[in-house]
Structure formats: C-alpha cells, structure tokens
Symmetry: D2
Subunit: 249 residues, 4 copies
C-alpha cells in the first residue's frame, strides 16, 4: 500500500475524511448490570452516534455484565479463578483501533470496574506486536465520564495516564464528561438535569470523538509507530539508537 | 508542499527517520534557581542528548529563573503585576513542536512551578490557530520527573492530563522518571544512587523521546489535525458534522 | 462512666497507655485470593503485631476472598445480585474503632478491590448514629500500601480522603508504605528487597499505629464527637448553631 | 491543670461547647492579589463567621500578597533569594490550633500558591515539639475549595494528604467546597450562581468547621498526642515501644 495525498487535502480543508476502515470499542464501567439504565452509556451514545454516522465499526461492552476475574495475569483461570471472561473480551479490545473507557464517579474516583479494567489491560502489557513494540502501540484511547457532582478531570487523569503508559496514543481533549452542580442531584439522563442539551459537554464529546478518529486514521495510514527508538525487543538485544548512557558521558 | 511517501518506508522499517525539521522545548520546573544543580535537569539531559543527535532544535527554560506572574491571563502586567516574563516565554513554547515538562516531586506532587506553568499554558487556551482549533493542536507533550522516593506516576497523571486537555497530543509512554526506594535518600545525580545507569529509566526516557518525535513528525507531515469535527470557531457558527443533539434523537 | 485523669498523665509522660478496650479491623485489598502470599499482608502484620502487644482486639479481612457485589447500596442482593457478603463484613467494620485499609499499587493506583471497598463503605453513609451524625463519626482510619516501584502517596491520598469524607478521623501520618526503586523489582516480602529491615517504613508503620491508637482512645474517652454543629438530623430539622446564611449577611 | 469532666457533658448533650481558647488561621491560595475579589475568600468567610460567633481567634492570610520564595528550606534567604516572607507567616501558622487552606481550582488542580504553601509547610517538618514529635502534631487541618466546574475532591485529596503527612489531624468531613455545573460558568460569589444559598455547601462548611473545633478542643484538653509510640527523637535513640522488627520475628 502506498499513501500519497496532497497535503492540503489531508490536512484541514477536506470536506469529509473517510473513517470507514476504523473500529472502536467502548467499555462501560458502570457498577450497574444490564438492563439497568446507565448514565455513562447515555453520554457514550453521543460519541457512538457520531462514529456510526462516519461509518466506523463500533462495539460496546458493559464490563460488570461479564465475569472478569481480579488479577494482573492474562488469564486468571490459570491462577485459581473458576471463570474469567477477560481473554475473550481482550480479543475485541485488541482488534479495535480505538478504546474509549466510560466510567461513573464515586467519591471523586473512577469506578472499581474501571480500575479492574485497567489492571487487566496492564496484565497484557508483556505482549509485543510484530515490530517488538508494546501491544497497544498504534491504538488511540480516550474516556467518557459522568457523575452528579464532581470528579471528571480526576477520573480522566488516571484513565488517560494508564492508557498512554501501556502504549495508547492520546488525541487532544480526549476526555469528555458531564457533572451537575456540587452536591447530590440529578444524573446525566435525568430529565431535570437538562444535560443532553449541555453545549459544553456536547462540544467536548464531538471534538474528542473526531480527534480520536483523526489520530487513529493518521496512525493507521502510517502503519503505527516506526520501531526506530522504541522496540523493547531491540533494546533488550542491545540496540540503543541515539541514546547514550549518561554515566559515561 | 506535497507529502508522498511509500508507506513501508514511513512506517517501521526505515533505518533512520529524519527529525531535523522538528523543535522541542524543555521546561524545568525545579524550585532551585540557576546555577544550582537540578536532578530534573540531569534526567532531561538524557532525552536532550538523543534529540541533539537526531538533529532536533532544542531549547531549555528553567522557569524559576524567570519572573513569571501567578494568574490565568495571557499577560498579568495588565492585571496589576509589575513584571511578567510569561509572554516572552510563551513565544518559545508556541514555536516548538514538542513540549516536555520536567518537575521534581514534593510530597507526592509536581512542584508549584509546574503548577504555575500549567496555569499559564491554560491562560492562553483562548487562542485559536488558523483552522479555528485550540492553539496547541498539532503539538506533542510529555514529562520527565525525578524525586528521591515516590510519586512519578501521580505527577505524570496531572501534567499529561493538562497537556492533552489544552490540545497537546500524547505519544505512547510519554512519561519518564526516576525515584529511589521509599524514604529519604540520594537523588538522581547523586553518585550513590547509581541512577544514571538505571536501565528502566534509560529505556523509558529513550522510548518517550522517540515516540514524541515520531508523533510530532507524523503530525507535521499531516499539517496537524484536520479541522473537520474539532474547530471551535465552526462549532460556534453552528457547524455540527456528525453530531446529533441527543435530546432530539 | 466518668473520665477523670490528671492531664499530664494522659498527655505525654505516661509510660504506657492502656489501649485494651480498643478494636481494629484490617482490610487487605490485594488481588490475590488466600492462601496466596500477599506483600500487603506482610506489611500489615508489622502494625498488627504492635496492636496485639498493646492488647487491642484485631481482625483481618482479605476482601477478594469474599463475594462482595459491586454497587452503591447497602445490600446488592436487593438489586439483582445473587450473593453479597458485604452486609456481614460491614458488621465487623462497624464494630471496630479503627479501620486500616491495605492495598497493593497497580499503575500508580490503589487496587480495584480497594475502590470496591470504598464504594461499599460509601453505600452505608446514609446511616446515622444515635446522635444523628454520620455512622463513621468517632472512628479512626488509616492505610498501608505496598508496591514495587511507585505510588504510595497517591493511593493514600484517595483512601484517606474517602475515609475522612464519610466520617472517619485521620491521625497524624496515618499512611505507611513500602516501595522499591523505580521499575520492576522485588516486592515487600521478597528477601532481596531487604524491606523488612527498612527503618523508614518500620518507623512510619509504628508511628501510624500508635497515632491511630491515641486518637481512637481520645475519641472513645470523649464518646466520639459532640453533636453540636454536625448532626445531619438536626440540620435537616432547621438547627444551624453558629451558621449564618451568607446570602442574608 | 487537671481535666475532669463528666463524660456525658463532654460528649454530645452539652448545649454549647466552649471554643474560646482556640485559634485558627485561614490561608487563601487564590492567584489574585488583594483587593481583587476572591471567591475562595467568599466561602471561607462562611466558616470564619461561625468561628467568630464561637469566640475563636482567627487570622486570614492571602498568600499571593506576600513575597514567599519557592523552595523547601525554612528560610530561602539563606539560599539565594533576596526576600522571603515565609518565616514571618510561619509564626502565625505555628501559633494557631487550626489551619484551613483555601484554594481555587485550575484544570482540576489546586493552585500553584497552594502547592507552594505545602512545600513551605513541609520545609519546616524537620522541627520537633517539646515531646520530640513533628512540629504540627496536635494541630487540626482542613480545606475549602471553589471553582466553577470540577475538582473539589481532587484538590482536597492532595491538601488533606499533605496536612496529615506532616502531622496535622483531620476531623471528619474536613473538606468543603462549591462548584457549578460542568463547563465555564459563574463562580461562588457571582449572583447568578446562587451559590451562597446552596444547602449542601453551607451544611458541609458548617460541619467541617465544628468538627475541626471539636477535634482541636479535644487535642488541646489532652495536651496533644502522648509521645508514646511516635517520638522521632526517641525512635532515633533506639526506643521501639511495641514494635518488633519483622525480619527477626
């Protein structure tokens, strides 16, 4: 395959980019099992609707519906757990170009399901791709957060940090959320919150979605990151590129 | 200009990418004024040395050496401060493709200088580029953190969150750091720490540096992000792309 | 009962305070089920050994050994979960004067089990004591954290915040932990870490344990907090004590 | 002095406790110099008004009005800074039983002034009281936080963590704050926010204020913490109380 585009067209003046070869998985880390109403699912649907219009393949997983073991190994059935649906779920995550983690806020923190998801994503980080890079290189991550009073940014800090640390790339403004005024109050989908019409949240969700698509498209066109300077395999074999041990400088 | 590269060459098999048209600014948020020894500067130099070998133009700013006012406006001289060197420093930041924030850790947190830097970066976020996007779109951010006992990840969470929130893109593993064992102890440049020879920190610093270069190069070749779906100006003018108000769905 | 002690004796010069009427529960939020070795349990035992010598009644719960549902209600069996051992575990927590949460660190964060524990503690916060105060008033909380590289303080921030927010009191230096140098490495109980002999961790664990005992003793002698100024029931009934609505000042 | 009170009276049924011998200092970490309007000062005044009615001596410091150097030493004039008002400010802090840190929120974080304050408080933590304990033992800390959209809990996590880590005690629900709905919007004192009449914030501020007073009173009556088990001086001299080195168990 050969990528050859006039720069102007690729860059900002094209009326409609083509995202049809991209795929995204949304993981909802609500504490409520289906079919209970999830406010986080409500906000995620705003982003999903954009992706669907752009022809992106999307999947949604509600983590708490699945028997996912606790632990930091790829398959906890090998560590004394009777069941562990993680290996199956991981296939879906690995096959998608984009991962969006949705979470409610409890006491200012992401949910225990979101933390469990991060532990299990991390448990696979020993895997390498065909270039010897960590397995999540070339993928794009983001988050969607809902609560009724406080904590969007704090939850996003932890989630986005984890995603980039294991190899995801983070597009500009890849966090979107909704919260109401301080104190208990209505949640995202509650009519009295009038949240569906919140211009700030709608705009952020739109920009996040498109920025993730642009970055994922760019990375796909580029076949991910070159392995020059970041291959764990090559480092372990002694390759150092421009690195110079400071001890001997 | 016309970008036309065989994909294979651009992507992972090229022996030596060309980063010579890139520029980076390192901002050291140590609390110590020059010429005092900064351990954070020590670790930053590992990354800088790689960039120099690759022909990248680099600049370093030690924030505490400058009279930077506190506040959240572009020029605090207009708000009662006698001096404010921020507007000058900002020109350097704006002209660079890459921003790397270095900070020491105090009580598990980034320094007050680092927080002041973020406040001032944020103070410019009302600016838009020629596509109507936030001014930092198309740039790449990362962080380098040193302490003697604990807190690299927590500091990175806050810094990387802020950078992506104002428009920077975050490459994989864009945080690098060094800390010693729990409790007081030697710092990065202290001989007894033997930190300069720490393979983990050296590898992370190398990968971080190259991942930022690859992403910055990719974004430069692509002329940043297309404005489709993320232009604040166009949103304010009523443009919605694939967004559909959920209230009316 | 009548508390009458010469102040000097109560205060700092008494050779041996009497903690025999106090009780403490340690909740280990490791991801490993019993009987797997838990490094967090290892460090908790240092604190437990002190408590035992002082005659304090202690209990230990390894949360992952129990079928604790996810959710934010007192008993999730009423919300579609088949089993939920939380109501039983809560009795133990409620009967203890002191709660110590132990957690490992994963990607710089407390474990998903620790977050689940906090969600469930929070789920009971609608309960009031006989003075109309939140149910945890008069109790003392702390945390013990182990990892192999980074994050003690960040985990402690979240745990101690949650504990005080639901009504626990926090004694000075109520966080103790152990981590090794940056990067993967031996864990607390691994011989090569030589962590058991770490003076910093041993001292912090000792001070934490005694400070919690002193504060719990003081609160017990005082029958907890007076309800003057903090009774939710009285506030809801219109009582305001010295509060004056700022809108009408 | 001899403390001898019937427990019932001390504990929850007394109509009016006597807080007249207590003192509190409020430090406002707004980025705005006096006399600019500070929303954080607005919310702090709700707590101050209660304290004044209860006869507590209070002082308020707006940190940004003072030339406080950056650094982690007691007096930065000894480290190359021309002026440093910290040593004077510290006398006020040290003489008060209660410290309340007020901060605005910027990008989900406490202000750089708040971080500088914590760095300077920490810089004094080598000092010991007459019992050989850290200098802040026996004092009570809390925080008051305002923003227009998000981050009260995250800011409180960092501030309360730091305070307890250096020796302050944290009373139940020692964090109070106000934020509006997600996105830019009116601030605490802006009429259209109607924040002065927010029952949740008013109640939390009241409870926080009284809980801090109760705990400070209890600690004062008790002459702080007994030194049994927490004296740094005695530990350094080999005293171990009930601690037993786990390596030799």
């Amino acid at each position: 395959m050969h990528v050859c585009v006039p720069k102007g067209i690729n860059a900002g003046f094209m009326s409609q980019p083509n995202f049809k070869d991209l795929s995204a998985v949304y993981i909802n880390c609500t504490l409520k099992k289906s079919p209970k109403k999830s406010h986080t699912a409500g906000l995620m649907s705003v982003s999903q609707s954009i992706m669907e219009k752009e022809g992106v393949s999307i999947k949604e997983i509600r983590l708490v519906d699945h028997l996912v073991a606790s632990g930091v190994y790829p398959d906890m059935k090998e560590y004394g757990w009777q069941t562990d649906e993680w290996p199956e779920l991981f296939k879906t995550i690995l096959s998608a170009d984009i991962l969006i983690i949705g979470t409610p806020i409890w006491l200012g923190e992401k949910s225990s399901e979101a933390q469990k998801l991060i532990e299990r994503l991390y448990s696979m980080s020993g895997m390498k791709n065909e270039k010897g890079q960590y397995i999540y290189y070339g993928k794009v991550g983001g988050c969607i957060i809902t609560g009724n009073e406080d904590g969007v940014k704090h939850c996003a800090m932890g989630i986005l940090y984890s995603l980039q640390h294991i190899g995801y790339s983070i597009a500009p403004q890849a966090d979107s959320g909704w919260i109401g005024e301080v104190g208990p109050g209505p949640s995202y989908l509650d009519k009295e919150a009038n949240a569906l019409n919140n211009d700030f949240t709608n705009r952020n969700t739109t920009f996040m979605t498109y920025n993730m698509l642009h970055l994922a498209k760019m990375l796909k066109n580029n076949d991910g990151y070159p392995s020059y300077g970041n291959s764990r395999e090559q480092w372990d074999n002694g390759k150092r590129w421009g690195f110079d041990n400071p001890e001997y400088r």
